[in-house]
Symmetry: C2
Subunit: 458 residues, 2 copies
């Protein structure tokens, strides 16, 4: 809280959150639209839940430790809730991620839901941590999850369908934003194979979760810190070195291996799904969360410069943990913060008219369709308002100037700066000059026909 | 918090919040799209801010009393914040409304912003109150605001432009959802005229805010409670009766009044803006909030059955209160809860394919464009996955069955139930039968042409 003497200072947005002015919002909507469009095209259906949930929903999956990493929420009306907040364990928390809500929702209706259930979600999440490059306290996230699927021909290959369908959808999103397999790598690993190898190297099963967590931090700690931590956990001295030192293996190398190699199928599947070029096998990918059970993956910049752009994997036990039936499941999450940095660094964020065009929908062109101008005579002036209203009712984006000027050249400049496609200059009680601001042509048309002419040119 | 013995029960969503399964989410997106489309067509630009703000941002405008009506938010990591939460005054609060954020954002950049600045916003708000019909703890809201405008020809009429532009945009939204002026009434009043009348009836100026608040509760209290409250506030006995008993006056009646009637202009303006039929003058409309300075309005069901669907007005002093320059401003908010009830009661919420069609965009048809089916031969089976991938890459919404069945009739039924426009049955390594599921026709096409045929029919 600010002390009283600071009250006269303007109040700032909370640290680690963002104000979106119109230009910022257009860029945000561009990413959100890309997420939504690609999800819909792949047959995923959108869901959402509350912005805050019972704190217990998060401790179920992540333990009490999560309480110090989340924002507590309580009703100011309820004394018991205020008291609980004072202990640090508020009754509610701002969602740090969506997966617990998804698991709760799936478990509640598991019997009625289709198999597979294909869901996507794109909203905001909150983390009570120090803001830094690529990491904010409020951020947007896209989740894609493929749950169930026991009706499929072969249960085992039905798992694969989900694994590769979410991977393919992730690639389609990246491609739709102009990114290529030269910019980014999808790094794939397998929890069970790693666990088997850990066991072979003498790591006890009760230490596997800690080993995965440590591997997940590989890129964030020094080699010495890594060694110290291995010792601290009481893991055999060199047991993690093979993972630490693993080089990514391109799909092409896997395909070149003998046909009986247990990883040949991975290369073959990525070929079938058209994502061969994007993927590589990388044993150093661990994913910190304990709940992954099979394939895990992360999307990284080819240079390795930024944090992961996306990450996910198979989590076949989670729905049960939330009271649902045993349910195979696979999914991933992608935040907006690192993705935006990558797009901006590569000049892939559209601007100006190109951005407005990308956001336009049948019901709303973000570029003004027509900018209505009076030629300055009183009879034209009185026609301006009704024409603008009629055009908007006809589902066109219509604007006019709010300036006092009668200088048509200046107003045409304003129209053009706003990105308008046409200007309609009212010349009399019955006629207007319709100027195509993109093409440069113009024609005289009856006022009642302005809307139809503009609509026809879309 | 749930006591430990309840932990094995499934955790519920917090009371007064909503889970959106896919069918719920489509209805929500329908309303959100209507809000966005109409805002964009009227030249408003979208903004957003943080989901939680400094608690002080809300007490500035509404006083300390607001603290017991909002959800407090604090970082579980920060001991000082936990302590503050325990006093009931957490450092942050979930936004109960967007206007304080808008005022903060406008004040921070007032000098660089265009005149007028036309902003819209549509996100969620939170209120710590008992959930009841038409009122939830988390709900969606659409705000439309018209700020500044001092460059316009006549400063006074520039105020009017904003007032009527937001009213017209509100009407356009209602019309776009299929509502008519027979379903709903826009009730308009004027704070200054009411204040003048209150003064004439002996209400001291320092009691005007309380009088407005009491008038705002007119429909929610009994006549006796109303009288008691008038006495409690020490207002002259019958000073509010004229407002309480006021009958709405249609615009037609105003227009019929003598030309020197001070309210003739209101009817004339509503005519110019094409919203004459929707509006009526209603002196009983007060709006509780103290910050309104001019025109105020509410949108009500014609029957008066539900709470207000929308409400707003002119607030010329608010930007200054948040540290900005003097700025004329007018705007309104519309929530999704009452609006949804009204649409559902009237059968105006589209369903099935009609709803999917309304949501579709150039980049994503919510109805599947094409459902790909193998004829069951091994050579067709191997073509299914690559064809689905290629169609999705070509920006089409493509699906296939996950079921084990080879019964084409059953799969066609699944395609049709999903609302697919076409089914493509792979007949060989090179050809498919393309069935138009809407029109009933079918033709044989080479597999590489399936996408182009489907896209051309959009």
């Amino acid at each position: 809280m600010s002390p009283p003497e600071q009250r006269s200072q303007p109040i700032q947005a909370p640290k680690g959150t963002r104000d979106y002015y119109p230009a910022d919002m257009l860029r945000r909507r561009y990413i959100e639209k890309a997420w939504r469009d690609v999800s819909v095209r792949h047959g995923f259906e959108e869901i959402d839940g509350p912005t805050f949930e019972a704190t217990d929903l998060y401790t179920v999956k992540s333990g009490e430790g999560i309480v110090s990493e989340i924002f507590g929420v309580f009703s100011g009306k309820d004394e018991e809730q205020v008291r609980a907040a004072g202990t640090g364990h508020a009754p509610f928390a701002l969602r740090p991620e969506f997966t617990p809500t998804l698991a709760r929702m799936y478990a509640a209706r598991a019997a009625q839901l289709p198999r597979p259930t294909k869901w996507f979600w794109q909203q905001n999440c909150f983390r009570a941590e120090r803001p830094q490059r690529g990491r904010l306290r409020e951020f947007l996230q896209w989740n894609l999850d493929f749950l169930g699927g026991a009706d499929a021909v072969e249960p085992e290959s039905s798992h694969l369908v989900g694994d590769f369908e979410v991977l393919a959808c992730c690639v389609a999103l990246l491609e739709s934003l102009g990114l290529t397999s030269r910019d980014l790598r999808i790094k794939i690993s397998f929890r069970k194979a790693v666990a088997k190898e850990l066991a072979r190297r003498g790591v006890q099963e009760d230490k596997h979760a800690a080993a995965f967590e440590l591997l997940d931090q590989l890129r964030k700690v020094t080699p010495q810190q890594f060694e110290d931590r291995v010792a601290e956990l009481g893991l055999p001295r060199d047991s993690l070195n093979a993972f630490r030192d693993a080089k990514p293996i391109p799909m092409g190398d896997l395909l070149a291996r003998p046909a009986n190699d247990p990883l040949n199928w991975l290369a073959a599947e990525t070929q079938q799904w058209g994502i061969f070029e994007w993927c590589e096998l990388d044993w150093s990918i661990a994913r910190g969360l304990a709940y992954y059970t099979g394939m895990v993956f992360e999307v990284h910049e080819a240079s390795g410069a930024e944090r992961a752009i996306a990450g996910g994997g198979r989590y076949d036990n989670l729905i049960e943990l939330f009271g649902g039936p045993p349910t195979p499941a696979v999914g991933f999450g992608m935040g907006d913060v690192v993705l935006s940095l990558v797009l901006q660094d590569r000049g892939l964020m559209p601007e100006g008219k190109a951005l407005l065009d990308r956001l336009s929908e049948p019901g709303a062109s973000y570029r003004p369709d027509v900018f209505v101008i009076s030629n300055g005579t009183p009879e034209a002036d009185t026609r301006l308002r009704p024409l603008v209203s009629a055009l908007r009712r006809g589902r066109l984006h219509a604007r006019h100037t709010y300036k006092a000027t009668k200088n048509i050249g200046k107003i045409l400049k304003e129209a053009s700066d706003a990105g308008a496609r046409f200007a309609a200059i009212i010349e009399s009680a019955s006629e207007a000059t319709l100027k195509d601001l993109d093409g440069g042509t113009q024609e005289r048309v009856p006022i009642p026909e302005v809307g139809a002419r503009v609509a026809a040119s879309r």
